[in-house]
Amino acid sequence: MDEVLELAPGDTAWLLVSASLVLLMTPGLAFFYGGMTRSKSVLNMMMMSFGAIGVVGVVYVLWGYSMSFGTDAFGEGTAGIWGDPFEFWALNGLLPGTDEADPYALSNSLLTGIPAIVVVGFQMTFAIITVALISGSIADRVKFSTWLVFTGAWVSLVYFGLAHMVWGGGLLSGDGPFGSMFTDIAPIDFAGGTVVHINAGVAGLVLALIIGKRRGFGKEPMRPHNLTLVMLGAGLLWFGWFGFNAGSAGAADGLAGLAWVNTTVATAAAMIGWLIVERLRDGHATSLGAASGVVAGLVAITPAAGALSPVGSIFLGLIAGALCALAVSLKFKLGYDDSLDVVGVHLVGGLVGTVLIGLFATETGLFYGGGIGQLVVQILVALVAIVFSGVLTLIIGLILKVTMGWRVTADDEVEGIDITQHGESAYDLDPTASGSGASGVLANATKKQGAQA
Protein backbone atom coordinates (compact mmCIF):
# COMPACT_ATOMS: atom_id res chain seq x y z
CA MET A 1 0.00 0.00 0.00
CA ASP A 2 2.80 2.37 0.89
CA GLU A 3 4.80 1.09 -2.04
CA VAL A 4 4.93 3.67 -4.81
CA LEU A 5 3.76 2.17 -8.06
CA GLU A 6 4.56 4.46 -10.88
CA LEU A 7 4.01 3.79 -14.53
CA ALA A 8 7.18 3.75 -16.62
CA PRO A 9 5.93 4.88 -20.04
CA GLY A 10 9.22 4.41 -21.88
CA ASP A 11 9.59 0.84 -20.67
CA THR A 12 5.92 0.20 -21.34
CA ALA A 13 6.29 1.51 -24.89
CA TRP A 14 9.22 -0.82 -25.46
CA LEU A 15 7.30 -3.81 -24.10
CA LEU A 16 4.27 -3.02 -26.25
CA VAL A 17 6.55 -2.90 -29.28
CA SER A 18 8.32 -6.07 -28.23
CA ALA A 19 5.07 -7.95 -27.85
CA SER A 20 4.05 -6.85 -31.33
CA LEU A 21 7.40 -7.92 -32.73
CA VAL A 22 7.20 -11.35 -31.16
CA LEU A 23 3.68 -11.85 -32.44
CA LEU A 24 4.96 -11.12 -35.95
CA MET A 25 7.45 -13.95 -35.55
CA THR A 26 4.77 -16.58 -35.90
CA PRO A 27 3.63 -15.47 -39.36
CA GLY A 28 7.35 -15.07 -40.09
CA LEU A 29 7.84 -18.68 -39.09
CA ALA A 30 4.92 -19.68 -41.29
CA PHE A 31 6.77 -18.25 -44.29
CA PHE A 32 10.13 -19.64 -43.26
CA TYR A 33 8.66 -23.12 -42.91
CA GLY A 34 6.16 -22.73 -45.74
CA GLY A 35 8.83 -21.88 -48.29
CA MET A 36 10.76 -25.01 -47.34
CA THR A 37 7.94 -27.45 -48.00
CA ARG A 38 6.88 -28.68 -51.39
CA SER A 39 4.37 -26.44 -53.12
CA LYS A 40 1.63 -28.97 -52.52
CA SER A 41 1.82 -28.48 -48.77
CA VAL A 42 2.76 -24.85 -48.16
CA LEU A 43 -0.75 -23.88 -47.06
CA ASN A 44 -0.98 -26.64 -44.50
CA MET A 45 2.42 -25.66 -43.17
CA MET A 46 1.35 -22.05 -42.74
CA MET A 47 -1.95 -23.11 -41.22
CA MET A 48 -0.13 -24.97 -38.46
CA SER A 49 1.40 -21.66 -37.38
CA PHE A 50 -1.77 -19.66 -37.79
CA GLY A 51 -3.76 -22.34 -36.00
CA ALA A 52 -1.34 -22.11 -33.09
CA ILE A 53 -2.03 -18.38 -32.82
CA GLY A 54 -5.75 -19.10 -32.76
CA VAL A 55 -5.71 -21.76 -30.07
CA VAL A 56 -2.98 -20.40 -27.83
CA GLY A 57 -4.29 -16.85 -28.12
CA VAL A 58 -7.54 -17.91 -26.51
CA VAL A 59 -6.08 -20.37 -24.03
CA TYR A 60 -3.47 -17.98 -22.74
CA VAL A 61 -5.79 -15.39 -21.33
CA LEU A 62 -8.04 -18.01 -19.78
CA TRP A 63 -5.55 -20.18 -17.90
CA GLY A 64 -2.19 -19.88 -19.60
CA TYR A 65 -0.77 -16.89 -17.81
CA SER A 66 -2.01 -18.25 -14.54
CA MET A 67 -0.42 -21.66 -15.05
CA SER A 68 2.84 -19.95 -15.96
CA PHE A 69 3.10 -17.26 -13.33
CA GLY A 70 0.54 -18.20 -10.68
CA THR A 71 1.51 -19.63 -7.35
CA ASP A 72 2.61 -23.26 -7.42
CA ALA A 73 -0.39 -25.40 -8.12
CA PHE A 74 0.50 -28.03 -5.55
CA GLY A 75 1.08 -25.91 -2.54
CA GLU A 76 2.91 -22.71 -1.75
CA GLY A 77 6.63 -23.04 -1.24
CA THR A 78 7.22 -26.23 -3.15
CA ALA A 79 9.37 -25.86 -6.20
CA GLY A 80 6.47 -26.75 -8.40
CA ILE A 81 5.92 -27.59 -11.99
CA TRP A 82 2.68 -25.83 -12.87
CA GLY A 83 1.16 -22.66 -11.55
CA ASP A 84 -2.40 -22.56 -10.29
CA PRO A 85 -4.65 -22.15 -13.35
CA PHE A 86 -7.37 -20.42 -11.38
CA GLU A 87 -5.35 -17.75 -9.60
CA PHE A 88 -5.37 -15.37 -12.56
CA TRP A 89 -8.16 -17.11 -14.48
CA ALA A 90 -9.29 -14.86 -17.33
CA LEU A 91 -6.63 -12.36 -16.22
CA ASN A 92 -8.38 -11.72 -12.96
CA GLY A 93 -6.44 -9.07 -11.06
CA LEU A 94 -4.28 -8.10 -14.00
CA LEU A 95 -6.65 -5.88 -15.94
CA PRO A 96 -6.25 -2.12 -15.85
CA GLY A 97 -8.93 0.05 -14.30
CA THR A 98 -10.20 -2.41 -11.73
CA ASP A 99 -8.32 -1.00 -8.73
CA GLU A 100 -8.42 2.77 -8.40
CA ALA A 101 -5.30 2.95 -6.27
CA ASP A 102 -3.35 0.96 -8.81
CA PRO A 103 -5.07 1.59 -12.12
CA TYR A 104 -2.53 -0.36 -14.14
CA ALA A 105 -2.32 -3.35 -11.80
CA LEU A 106 1.37 -2.56 -11.41
CA SER A 107 1.47 -4.38 -8.10
CA ASN A 108 0.66 -7.62 -9.85
CA SER A 109 3.02 -7.03 -12.73
CA LEU A 110 6.13 -9.10 -13.26
CA LEU A 111 8.00 -6.03 -14.45
CA THR A 112 8.49 -2.81 -12.54
CA GLY A 113 6.49 0.09 -13.87
CA ILE A 114 4.89 -1.88 -16.68
CA PRO A 115 1.15 -2.59 -16.52
CA ALA A 116 0.43 -6.25 -15.84
CA ILE A 117 -1.70 -6.54 -18.96
CA VAL A 118 1.25 -5.51 -21.13
CA VAL A 119 3.36 -8.25 -19.63
CA VAL A 120 0.55 -10.73 -20.28
CA GLY A 121 0.54 -9.75 -23.95
CA PHE A 122 4.29 -10.06 -24.19
CA GLN A 123 4.35 -13.48 -22.55
CA MET A 124 1.47 -14.75 -24.65
CA THR A 125 3.45 -14.30 -27.83
CA PHE A 126 6.20 -16.57 -26.52
CA ALA A 127 3.74 -19.38 -25.91
CA ILE A 128 2.37 -19.02 -29.42
CA ILE A 129 5.67 -19.16 -31.26
CA THR A 130 6.92 -22.11 -29.23
CA VAL A 131 4.05 -24.34 -30.29
CA ALA A 132 4.34 -23.16 -33.87
CA LEU A 133 8.04 -24.06 -33.94
CA ILE A 134 7.22 -27.73 -33.38
CA SER A 135 5.19 -27.98 -36.57
CA GLY A 136 8.32 -27.97 -38.72
CA SER A 137 9.22 -31.49 -37.75
CA ILE A 138 5.95 -32.99 -38.89
CA ALA A 139 5.33 -31.17 -42.15
CA ASP A 140 3.06 -32.42 -44.94
CA ARG A 141 1.38 -35.34 -43.22
CA VAL A 142 -0.67 -34.40 -40.18
CA LYS A 143 -4.42 -33.91 -39.78
CA PHE A 144 -5.18 -30.28 -39.09
CA SER A 145 -7.72 -31.17 -36.41
CA THR A 146 -5.23 -33.32 -34.50
CA TRP A 147 -2.69 -30.52 -34.68
CA LEU A 148 -5.14 -28.07 -33.14
CA VAL A 149 -5.95 -30.40 -30.27
CA PHE A 150 -2.27 -31.09 -29.72
CA THR A 151 -1.62 -27.37 -29.66
CA GLY A 152 -4.02 -26.80 -26.80
CA ALA A 153 -2.90 -29.79 -24.79
CA TRP A 154 0.82 -29.31 -25.26
CA VAL A 155 0.90 -25.62 -24.51
CA SER A 156 -1.10 -26.21 -21.33
CA LEU A 157 0.87 -29.11 -19.93
CA VAL A 158 4.35 -28.71 -21.32
CA TYR A 159 4.91 -25.07 -22.20
CA PHE A 160 3.15 -23.51 -19.23
CA GLY A 161 4.91 -26.04 -17.04
CA LEU A 162 8.37 -25.22 -18.25
CA ALA A 163 7.63 -21.49 -18.23
CA HIS A 164 6.58 -21.83 -14.62
CA MET A 165 9.68 -23.81 -13.73
CA VAL A 166 12.10 -21.37 -15.32
CA TRP A 167 10.43 -17.97 -15.12
CA GLY A 168 7.59 -18.47 -12.67
CA GLY A 169 9.67 -19.26 -9.61
CA GLY A 170 9.57 -23.02 -10.06
CA LEU A 171 11.99 -25.92 -10.20
CA LEU A 172 14.51 -24.46 -12.64
CA SER A 173 14.47 -20.86 -11.42
CA GLY A 174 17.01 -19.19 -9.20
CA ASP A 175 14.89 -20.27 -6.22
CA GLY A 176 14.84 -23.92 -7.23
CA PRO A 177 17.34 -26.65 -6.31
CA PHE A 178 19.69 -25.81 -9.21
CA GLY A 179 19.59 -22.16 -8.31
CA SER A 180 20.95 -22.92 -4.87
CA MET A 181 23.58 -25.51 -5.83
CA PHE A 182 26.37 -22.96 -6.11
CA THR A 183 26.69 -19.66 -4.32
CA ASP A 184 25.89 -16.67 -6.46
CA ILE A 185 25.10 -18.79 -9.47
CA ALA A 186 21.59 -19.06 -10.85
CA PRO A 187 20.57 -20.81 -14.05
CA ILE A 188 20.61 -18.28 -16.89
CA ASP A 189 17.92 -18.32 -19.54
CA PHE A 190 17.60 -14.75 -20.69
CA ALA A 191 14.82 -15.09 -23.22
CA GLY A 192 13.87 -18.71 -23.53
CA GLY A 193 16.61 -21.11 -24.57
CA THR A 194 15.12 -23.89 -22.49
CA VAL A 195 11.47 -22.87 -22.34
CA VAL A 196 11.20 -22.15 -26.03
CA HIS A 197 13.89 -23.79 -28.10
CA ILE A 198 15.03 -26.89 -26.27
CA ASN A 199 11.40 -27.49 -25.43
CA ALA A 200 10.17 -27.16 -29.01
CA GLY A 201 13.14 -29.10 -30.35
CA VAL A 202 12.54 -32.07 -28.09
CA ALA A 203 8.82 -32.04 -28.79
CA GLY A 204 9.55 -31.93 -32.51
CA LEU A 205 11.80 -34.94 -32.25
CA VAL A 206 9.29 -36.94 -30.25
CA LEU A 207 6.46 -36.15 -32.64
CA ALA A 208 8.59 -36.97 -35.68
CA LEU A 209 9.26 -40.38 -34.15
CA ILE A 210 5.65 -41.02 -33.19
CA ILE A 211 4.19 -39.87 -36.47
CA GLY A 212 6.73 -41.39 -38.81
CA LYS A 213 8.27 -40.32 -42.06
CA ARG A 214 6.76 -38.56 -45.03
CA ARG A 215 6.12 -40.94 -47.90
CA GLY A 216 9.21 -40.95 -50.05
CA PHE A 217 11.50 -39.55 -47.35
CA GLY A 218 15.11 -40.22 -48.24
CA LYS A 219 14.17 -41.32 -51.74
CA GLU A 220 12.27 -38.58 -53.47
CA PRO A 221 13.56 -35.05 -53.65
CA MET A 222 11.71 -32.77 -51.23
CA ARG A 223 13.37 -29.51 -51.96
CA PRO A 224 12.12 -26.10 -50.83
CA HIS A 225 9.55 -24.83 -53.26
CA ASN A 226 10.09 -21.11 -52.73
CA LEU A 227 13.31 -19.78 -51.31
CA THR A 228 12.20 -16.15 -51.49
CA LEU A 229 9.52 -17.09 -48.98
CA VAL A 230 12.16 -18.73 -46.78
CA MET A 231 14.27 -15.58 -46.89
CA LEU A 232 11.23 -13.47 -46.08
CA GLY A 233 10.53 -15.67 -43.09
CA ALA A 234 14.11 -15.41 -41.91
CA GLY A 235 14.02 -11.62 -42.26
CA LEU A 236 10.78 -11.29 -40.29
CA LEU A 237 12.01 -13.72 -37.66
CA TRP A 238 15.16 -11.69 -37.13
CA PHE A 239 13.18 -8.47 -36.90
CA GLY A 240 10.71 -10.00 -34.47
CA TRP A 241 13.48 -11.54 -32.42
CA PHE A 242 14.56 -8.09 -31.27
CA GLY A 243 11.34 -8.04 -29.30
CA PHE A 244 12.01 -11.55 -28.08
CA ASN A 245 15.52 -10.90 -26.81
CA ALA A 246 15.86 -7.18 -26.22
CA GLY A 247 12.29 -7.10 -24.95
CA SER A 248 13.19 -9.74 -22.38
CA ALA A 249 15.31 -7.10 -20.65
CA GLY A 250 11.96 -5.86 -19.38
CA ALA A 251 12.94 -2.22 -19.80
CA ALA A 252 14.31 0.18 -22.38
CA ASP A 253 17.78 0.37 -20.92
CA GLY A 254 21.36 -0.64 -21.45
CA LEU A 255 20.63 -4.31 -20.90
CA ALA A 256 18.09 -4.20 -23.71
CA GLY A 257 20.71 -2.52 -25.85
CA LEU A 258 23.26 -5.18 -25.03
CA ALA A 259 20.78 -7.92 -25.85
CA TRP A 260 19.99 -6.13 -29.12
CA VAL A 261 23.60 -5.91 -30.20
CA ASN A 262 24.42 -9.43 -29.07
CA THR A 263 21.44 -10.75 -30.98
CA THR A 264 22.59 -9.05 -34.14
CA VAL A 265 26.24 -10.00 -34.03
CA ALA A 266 25.67 -13.58 -32.94
CA THR A 267 23.23 -14.00 -35.79
CA ALA A 268 25.59 -12.44 -38.30
CA ALA A 269 28.33 -14.75 -37.10
CA ALA A 270 26.09 -17.83 -37.17
CA MET A 271 25.16 -17.08 -40.77
CA ILE A 272 28.85 -16.99 -41.61
CA GLY A 273 29.48 -20.16 -39.62
CA TRP A 274 26.76 -22.07 -41.46
CA LEU A 275 27.97 -20.83 -44.86
CA ILE A 276 31.56 -21.84 -44.13
CA VAL A 277 30.48 -25.39 -43.32
CA GLU A 278 28.45 -25.52 -46.51
CA ARG A 279 31.22 -24.16 -48.63
CA LEU A 280 33.67 -26.72 -47.28
CA ARG A 281 31.30 -29.66 -47.26
CA ASP A 282 29.08 -29.10 -50.29
CA GLY A 283 31.08 -26.66 -52.37
CA HIS A 284 28.36 -23.99 -52.31
CA ALA A 285 27.25 -21.37 -49.83
CA THR A 286 23.48 -21.44 -50.24
CA SER A 287 20.71 -19.01 -49.49
CA LEU A 288 18.86 -21.70 -47.54
CA GLY A 289 22.07 -22.01 -45.54
CA ALA A 290 22.14 -18.29 -44.87
CA ALA A 291 18.52 -18.28 -43.74
CA SER A 292 19.12 -21.34 -41.59
CA GLY A 293 22.26 -19.86 -40.09
CA VAL A 294 20.29 -16.76 -39.18
CA VAL A 295 17.75 -18.79 -37.30
CA ALA A 296 20.40 -20.95 -35.65
CA GLY A 297 22.16 -17.83 -34.41
CA LEU A 298 18.97 -16.30 -33.12
CA VAL A 299 18.14 -19.50 -31.29
CA ALA A 300 21.57 -19.86 -29.70
CA ILE A 301 21.83 -16.28 -28.49
CA THR A 302 18.34 -16.37 -26.99
CA PRO A 303 19.30 -17.67 -23.53
CA ALA A 304 22.59 -15.78 -23.56
CA ALA A 305 21.70 -12.36 -24.95
CA GLY A 306 22.06 -10.50 -21.65
CA ALA A 307 24.99 -12.40 -20.21
CA LEU A 308 27.66 -12.23 -22.91
CA SER A 309 29.82 -9.53 -24.41
CA PRO A 310 29.44 -8.82 -28.12
CA VAL A 311 32.72 -10.58 -28.83
CA GLY A 312 31.56 -13.58 -26.84
CA SER A 313 28.38 -13.47 -28.86
CA ILE A 314 30.35 -13.62 -32.10
CA PHE A 315 32.04 -16.81 -30.93
CA LEU A 316 28.77 -18.27 -29.72
CA GLY A 317 27.19 -17.49 -33.08
CA LEU A 318 29.99 -18.99 -35.14
CA ILE A 319 29.88 -22.20 -33.12
CA ALA A 320 26.10 -22.44 -33.22
CA GLY A 321 25.94 -21.83 -36.98
CA ALA A 322 28.56 -24.44 -37.71
CA LEU A 323 27.17 -27.09 -35.36
CA CYS A 324 23.60 -26.69 -36.57
CA ALA A 325 24.78 -26.92 -40.18
CA LEU A 326 26.30 -30.27 -39.30
CA ALA A 327 23.34 -31.39 -37.19
CA VAL A 328 20.69 -31.08 -39.88
CA SER A 329 22.15 -34.07 -41.71
CA LEU A 330 21.67 -36.34 -38.72
CA LYS A 331 18.12 -37.14 -39.67
CA PHE A 332 19.21 -38.89 -42.86
CA LYS A 333 21.81 -40.83 -40.93
CA LEU A 334 19.53 -41.81 -38.08
CA GLY A 335 16.44 -42.18 -40.22
CA TYR A 336 13.89 -39.96 -38.48
CA ASP A 337 12.03 -37.44 -40.59
CA ASP A 338 12.37 -34.14 -38.76
CA SER A 339 11.17 -32.54 -41.93
CA LEU A 340 12.29 -28.93 -41.52
CA ASP A 341 15.00 -29.55 -38.94
CA VAL A 342 13.44 -28.47 -35.69
CA VAL A 343 15.89 -30.74 -33.94
CA GLY A 344 18.92 -29.65 -35.93
CA VAL A 345 18.21 -25.97 -35.46
CA HIS A 346 16.17 -25.46 -32.32
CA LEU A 347 17.22 -28.32 -30.10
CA VAL A 348 20.89 -28.18 -31.08
CA GLY A 349 20.94 -24.38 -31.24
CA GLY A 350 19.12 -24.09 -27.93
CA LEU A 351 21.56 -26.50 -26.30
CA VAL A 352 24.58 -24.72 -27.72
CA GLY A 353 23.33 -21.42 -26.36
CA THR A 354 22.29 -22.76 -22.99
CA VAL A 355 25.46 -24.69 -22.36
CA LEU A 356 27.98 -22.19 -23.74
CA ILE A 357 26.70 -19.61 -21.30
CA GLY A 358 28.68 -21.66 -18.82
CA LEU A 359 31.83 -20.74 -20.74
CA PHE A 360 31.11 -17.29 -22.11
CA ALA A 361 29.04 -15.49 -19.46
CA THR A 362 31.04 -12.40 -18.57
CA GLU A 363 30.23 -12.65 -14.89
CA THR A 364 30.22 -16.33 -14.11
CA GLY A 365 31.50 -18.16 -17.20
CA LEU A 366 34.46 -20.54 -17.10
CA PHE A 367 36.43 -18.55 -19.68
CA TYR A 368 35.95 -15.41 -17.65
CA GLY A 369 37.26 -16.93 -14.44
CA GLY A 370 33.89 -17.87 -13.07
CA GLY A 371 34.65 -21.50 -12.40
CA ILE A 372 32.74 -24.58 -13.47
CA GLY A 373 29.53 -23.82 -11.55
CA GLN A 374 27.58 -22.03 -14.22
CA LEU A 375 28.41 -24.69 -16.78
CA VAL A 376 27.19 -27.48 -14.51
CA VAL A 377 23.99 -25.65 -13.70
CA GLN A 378 23.28 -24.93 -17.34
CA ILE A 379 23.76 -28.55 -18.34
CA LEU A 380 21.55 -29.82 -15.55
CA VAL A 381 18.78 -27.40 -16.36
CA ALA A 382 18.94 -28.38 -20.02
CA LEU A 383 18.69 -32.05 -19.11
CA VAL A 384 15.68 -31.53 -16.91
CA ALA A 385 13.99 -29.56 -19.67
CA ILE A 386 14.73 -32.32 -22.17
CA VAL A 387 13.32 -35.03 -19.96
CA PHE A 388 10.25 -33.05 -18.95
CA SER A 389 9.38 -32.04 -22.47
CA GLY A 390 10.24 -35.44 -23.92
CA VAL A 391 8.15 -37.50 -21.54
CA LEU A 392 5.07 -35.28 -21.58
CA THR A 393 5.14 -34.83 -25.34
CA LEU A 394 5.41 -38.58 -25.74
CA ILE A 395 2.35 -39.13 -23.61
CA ILE A 396 0.28 -36.48 -25.38
CA GLY A 397 1.45 -37.64 -28.79
CA LEU A 398 0.63 -41.27 -28.14
CA ILE A 399 -2.80 -40.50 -26.74
CA LEU A 400 -3.61 -38.52 -29.87
CA LYS A 401 -2.25 -41.31 -32.03
CA VAL A 402 -4.65 -43.88 -30.63
CA THR A 403 -7.61 -41.53 -30.38
CA MET A 404 -7.85 -39.03 -33.25
CA GLY A 405 -4.92 -40.37 -35.23
CA TRP A 406 -2.17 -38.13 -36.54
CA ARG A 407 -1.77 -38.90 -40.21
CA VAL A 408 -3.78 -38.16 -43.29
CA THR A 409 -4.26 -41.11 -45.64
CA ALA A 410 -1.45 -42.15 -47.93
CA ASP A 411 -3.43 -41.05 -50.99
CA ASP A 412 -4.14 -37.66 -49.48
CA GLU A 413 -0.50 -37.19 -48.64
CA VAL A 414 0.60 -38.08 -52.17
CA GLU A 415 -2.01 -35.92 -53.83
CA GLY A 416 -1.04 -33.08 -51.53
CA ILE A 417 -2.20 -32.08 -48.08
CA ASP A 418 -3.23 -28.60 -49.19
CA ILE A 419 -5.91 -29.88 -51.49
CA THR A 420 -7.01 -32.80 -49.40
CA GLN A 421 -7.05 -31.14 -45.95
CA HIS A 422 -7.81 -27.55 -46.87
CA GLY A 423 -9.46 -27.78 -50.28
CA GLU A 424 -7.09 -25.19 -51.73
CA SER A 425 -3.98 -24.86 -53.81
CA ALA A 426 -1.46 -22.14 -53.11
CA TYR A 427 -0.59 -20.81 -56.53
CA ASP A 428 -2.38 -20.17 -59.79
CA LEU A 429 0.19 -18.02 -61.49
CA ASP A 430 -0.58 -18.50 -65.16
CA PRO A 431 -2.36 -15.31 -66.19
CA THR A 432 -4.21 -17.12 -68.97
CA ALA A 433 -5.55 -19.84 -66.74
CA SER A 434 -8.53 -18.07 -65.23
CA GLY A 435 -11.62 -18.38 -67.22
CA SER A 436 -10.01 -20.98 -69.43
CA GLY A 437 -11.13 -23.91 -67.39
CA ALA A 438 -7.53 -24.87 -66.91
CA SER A 439 -7.83 -23.97 -63.29
CA GLY A 440 -11.36 -25.00 -62.70
CA VAL A 441 -14.97 -24.19 -63.19
CA LEU A 442 -17.05 -22.15 -60.82
CA ALA A 443 -19.25 -25.00 -59.81
CA ASN A 444 -21.28 -23.76 -57.05
CA ALA A 445 -20.86 -20.27 -55.86
CA THR A 446 -24.30 -20.11 -54.43
CA LYS A 447 -25.16 -23.67 -53.56
CA LYS A 448 -24.71 -23.42 -49.86
CA GLN A 449 -26.78 -20.36 -49.31
CA GLY A 450 -29.31 -22.14 -47.26
CA ALA A 451 -26.74 -22.24 -44.53
CA GLN A 452 -26.68 -18.50 -44.26
CA ALA A 453 -30.35 -17.83 -44.45
Binding site: E415, I419, G437, G440, N444, A445
Partner: protein, 112 residues
Protein backbone atom coordinates in the same frame (compact mmCIF):
# COMPACT_ATOMS: atom_id res chain seq x y z
CA UNK B 1 11.16 -44.36 -87.20
CA UNK B 2 8.31 -43.65 -84.86
CA UNK B 3 7.42 -41.07 -82.30
CA UNK B 4 5.89 -42.69 -79.23
CA UNK B 5 3.89 -40.31 -77.07
CA UNK B 6 2.72 -41.21 -73.59
CA UNK B 7 0.40 -39.30 -71.29
CA UNK B 8 0.84 -40.60 -67.74
CA UNK B 9 0.32 -39.74 -64.10
CA UNK B 10 3.02 -37.35 -62.84
CA UNK B 11 4.30 -39.47 -60.00
CA UNK B 12 4.95 -42.34 -62.43
CA UNK B 13 7.57 -40.42 -64.39
CA UNK B 14 10.49 -41.77 -62.40
CA UNK B 15 9.47 -45.37 -62.86
CA UNK B 16 8.77 -44.95 -66.54
CA UNK B 17 12.08 -43.28 -67.14
CA UNK B 18 13.92 -45.99 -65.29
CA UNK B 19 12.14 -48.69 -67.28
CA UNK B 20 12.95 -46.98 -70.57
CA UNK B 21 16.61 -46.64 -69.67
CA UNK B 22 16.72 -50.28 -68.72
CA UNK B 23 15.20 -51.12 -72.08
CA UNK B 24 17.88 -49.08 -73.85
CA UNK B 25 16.17 -45.82 -74.75
CA UNK B 26 18.76 -43.05 -74.65
CA UNK B 27 16.69 -39.94 -74.50
CA UNK B 28 13.24 -38.46 -74.21
CA UNK B 29 11.44 -35.14 -74.05
CA UNK B 30 9.01 -34.47 -71.23
CA UNK B 31 6.39 -31.76 -70.78
CA UNK B 32 3.66 -30.86 -68.36
CA UNK B 33 0.08 -31.12 -69.47
CA UNK B 34 -3.41 -31.60 -68.12
CA UNK B 35 -5.81 -34.31 -68.95
CA UNK B 36 -9.53 -34.61 -69.20
CA UNK B 37 -11.23 -38.01 -69.29
CA UNK B 38 -13.06 -40.51 -67.16
CA UNK B 39 -11.06 -39.62 -64.06
CA UNK B 40 -12.89 -37.11 -61.87
CA UNK B 41 -11.31 -33.87 -60.69
CA UNK B 42 -11.38 -32.39 -57.22
CA UNK B 43 -13.16 -29.48 -55.63
CA UNK B 44 -11.66 -26.36 -54.12
CA UNK B 45 -13.50 -23.82 -51.98
CA UNK B 46 -12.58 -20.17 -51.63
CA UNK B 47 -14.68 -18.08 -49.27
CA UNK B 48 -17.56 -20.43 -49.72
CA UNK B 49 -17.49 -20.50 -53.54
CA UNK B 50 -16.79 -23.96 -54.92
CA UNK B 51 -14.59 -24.61 -57.93
CA UNK B 52 -14.35 -27.94 -59.67
CA UNK B 53 -10.93 -28.53 -61.11
CA UNK B 54 -11.65 -30.71 -64.12
CA UNK B 55 -8.25 -30.84 -65.75
CA UNK B 56 -5.87 -33.09 -63.93
CA UNK B 57 -2.10 -32.84 -64.06
CA UNK B 58 -0.43 -35.28 -66.42
CA UNK B 59 3.05 -35.75 -67.79
CA UNK B 60 3.56 -36.08 -71.52
CA UNK B 61 6.60 -38.01 -72.73
CA UNK B 62 7.85 -38.11 -76.32
CA UNK B 63 10.33 -40.74 -77.47
CA UNK B 64 11.75 -41.12 -80.94
CA UNK B 65 12.50 -44.78 -81.64
CA UNK B 66 13.41 -47.15 -84.42
CA UNK B 67 10.25 -48.38 -86.10
CA UNK B 68 10.82 -51.96 -84.96
CA UNK B 69 11.23 -50.94 -81.32
CA UNK B 70 8.00 -48.96 -81.15
CA UNK B 71 5.79 -51.78 -79.90
CA UNK B 72 8.26 -52.83 -77.25
CA UNK B 73 8.71 -49.29 -76.02
CA UNK B 74 4.97 -48.92 -75.74
CA UNK B 75 4.79 -52.10 -73.72
CA UNK B 76 7.57 -50.95 -71.44
CA UNK B 77 5.79 -47.68 -70.78
CA UNK B 78 2.41 -49.27 -70.23
CA UNK B 79 3.81 -51.69 -67.71
CA UNK B 80 5.73 -49.06 -65.78
CA UNK B 81 2.97 -46.45 -65.76
CA UNK B 82 0.11 -48.68 -64.73
CA UNK B 83 -1.55 -48.24 -61.34
CA UNK B 84 -4.80 -49.86 -62.41
CA UNK B 85 -6.83 -46.84 -61.37
CA UNK B 86 -8.77 -44.61 -63.74
CA UNK B 87 -6.64 -41.88 -65.27
CA UNK B 88 -3.49 -43.88 -65.94
CA UNK B 89 -3.34 -42.35 -69.41
CA UNK B 90 -2.67 -43.29 -73.02
CA UNK B 91 0.28 -44.22 -75.19
CA UNK B 92 0.37 -43.96 -78.97
CA UNK B 93 2.77 -43.98 -81.90
CA UNK B 94 3.05 -41.81 -84.99
CA UNK B 95 5.21 -42.40 -88.07
CA UNK B 96 8.15 -40.06 -88.38
CA UNK B 97 10.40 -38.91 -91.19
CA UNK B 98 13.72 -37.20 -91.12
CA UNK B 99 14.98 -37.19 -87.53
CA UNK B 100 18.07 -34.98 -87.21
CA UNK B 101 20.45 -34.50 -84.31
CA UNK B 102 21.08 -30.77 -84.11
CA UNK B 103 24.60 -31.03 -82.75
CA UNK B 104 26.00 -33.18 -85.53
CA UNK B 105 23.45 -33.07 -88.31
CA UNK B 106 23.26 -36.89 -88.20
CA UNK B 107 20.00 -38.22 -89.61
CA UNK B 108 17.81 -41.25 -89.07
CA UNK B 109 18.57 -43.89 -86.44
CA UNK B 110 22.03 -42.41 -85.78
CA UNK B 111 20.35 -39.24 -84.63
CA UNK B 112 18.77 -40.91 -81.63
Amino acid sequence: MKLVTAVIKPFKLDEVRAALLAFGVQGMTVSESSGYGRQRGHTEVYRGAEYTVELLPKIRIEILVDAEDADDVIDVIVRAARTGKIGDGKVWAVPVENVVRVRTGERGPEAL
